[in-house]
C-alpha cells in the first residue's frame, strides 16, 4: 500500500490531519511528522525520515506539507533515502490532500494513481 506522510510545522496539525484521514481510511499507512522532537513549532528532518520509513512498504510514499521549511526538510529527508524514486512531495492542501491520498491508497491504488488524485486535490472546489 502507498504510504502517506504528513509534514506540518505543528505536531497538532499533522496529527489532526492523520486523525481525520483515519476516520475515512482506517487501514491506510499514514504517519504524522509534525513539529520538533520537543513538540515545539518547526519541521524536523529526522522525524520526517522516520515517518517515511515507518509507512514505506515498497509501493511508494507521498508527503503532504504545509509551507516553507516543510518542503525543504522533506526534500532533505528524501535525499537521505537509498532510493527516493517512489517518494514524492505533493503540492496540495495538507488536510484535504491527506484525506484524499489516504482513501485512494487504502483501496490499493498504485503510487502513480495516488499522485494523480492528489494533483486534483489542489483544484478541488468546496462549494
Amino acid at each position: 500500500m502507498v504510504g502517506i506522510v504528513v509534514v506540518s510545522h505543528s505536531q497538532k496539525v499533522a496529527e489532526g490531519a492523520v486523525e481525520l484521514a483515519r476516520q475515512m481510511a482506517p487501514e491506510a499507512r499514514i504517519a504524522a511528522a509534525g513539529g520538533m522532537e520537543d513538540g515545539s513549532i518547526g519541521t524536523d528532518v529526522s522525524k520526517i525520515l522516520a515517518a517515511i520509513e515507518a509507512v514505506e512498504e515498497g509501493d511508494g510514499v507521498v508527503i503532504l506539507v504545509d509551507l516553507g521549511s516543510a518542503v525543504m526538510s522533506s526534500e532533505m529527508a528524501m535525499e537521505m533515502l537509498n532510493d527516493s524514486s517512489h517518494v514524492k512531495i505533493i503540492d496540495a492542501p495538507i488536510v484535504e490532500g491527506t484525506i484524499f491520498g489516504s482513501v485512494e491508497a487504502s483501496i490499493g491504488s498504485s503510487f502513480e494513481e495516488v499522485v494523480e488524485v492528489l494533483a486534483g486535490a489542489k483544484a478541488y472546489k468546496k462549494f
Partner: protein, 212 residues
Amino acid sequence: MATKADVLDFIRVYADKMAEHRQELTDYDQAIGDGDHGINMSRGFKAVMEKLPTVEEKNIDDILKAVGMTLVSTVGGASGPLYGTAFMKAGAAVKGKEELSNEDILLALDEAVGGIQFRGKAVEGEKTILDSMIPAINAIKASLADGKTMAEALVAGESAAWNGVEYTKTIIATKGRASYLGERSIGHQDPGATSMAYAFQAINEVAQKAGN
C-alpha cells in the same frame, strides 16, 4: 589557511553570536516573517555545542557535517535545511582534511553557497541569506586576487556581508514567509542575511585572533 582548532573556534564563536543576538534576529523576523529566526538559530547552535565534544577529534569534514546534521534536526525553520545544507556541503568539499588551505576555504564557501541556492531555489536579490553571503564571498575572492592575505580578505568579506544586509532593506522579499508581505517588506533588513553576516563576522574574528 585554517587549522582544525580554527574551525572549531569558528563554530563556538558563531554559536555564541547566535545566543547573544537571539532577540535581535527574532525582532527582525517578527517584522517580516514568522518571528522565530533568533529562537531557531540559537536552539540549533545550542544543540551543536552539545554535539561538538563528540566529534571534535574527527576530521574537519566530519565536524562540519555533524554541525549540518544537528542544525537540520534542531533549528525547525527554513534556516535549518539552509544552514544545515551549507555546513554539510562545506564539509563534503574538504573531505579528509585536518587543515584547510586558502583554496580549501574558498571551495568550502562556494559549495556552501551552492548548497543554499540549491536548497532554497533562490538567487541574489530576493532578500535572503544569499544577499550577504554572495557579496562576502566575492569580496574575499577579489581581495585574494589583489594579493591580500586571507586575514585581510576576511575583513573585506565581513564588511561586504554587512553592506549586503543593508541592501536587503531596499528590496522586496520574493522568497519565504516575508514574500507574503510584498512591498511592506521594504525598509526591513532580512533576518537570514543578518545571521549569515554574523557567520562572516565570526570567521573574521577567528582569523584575526589566529593571525592567519
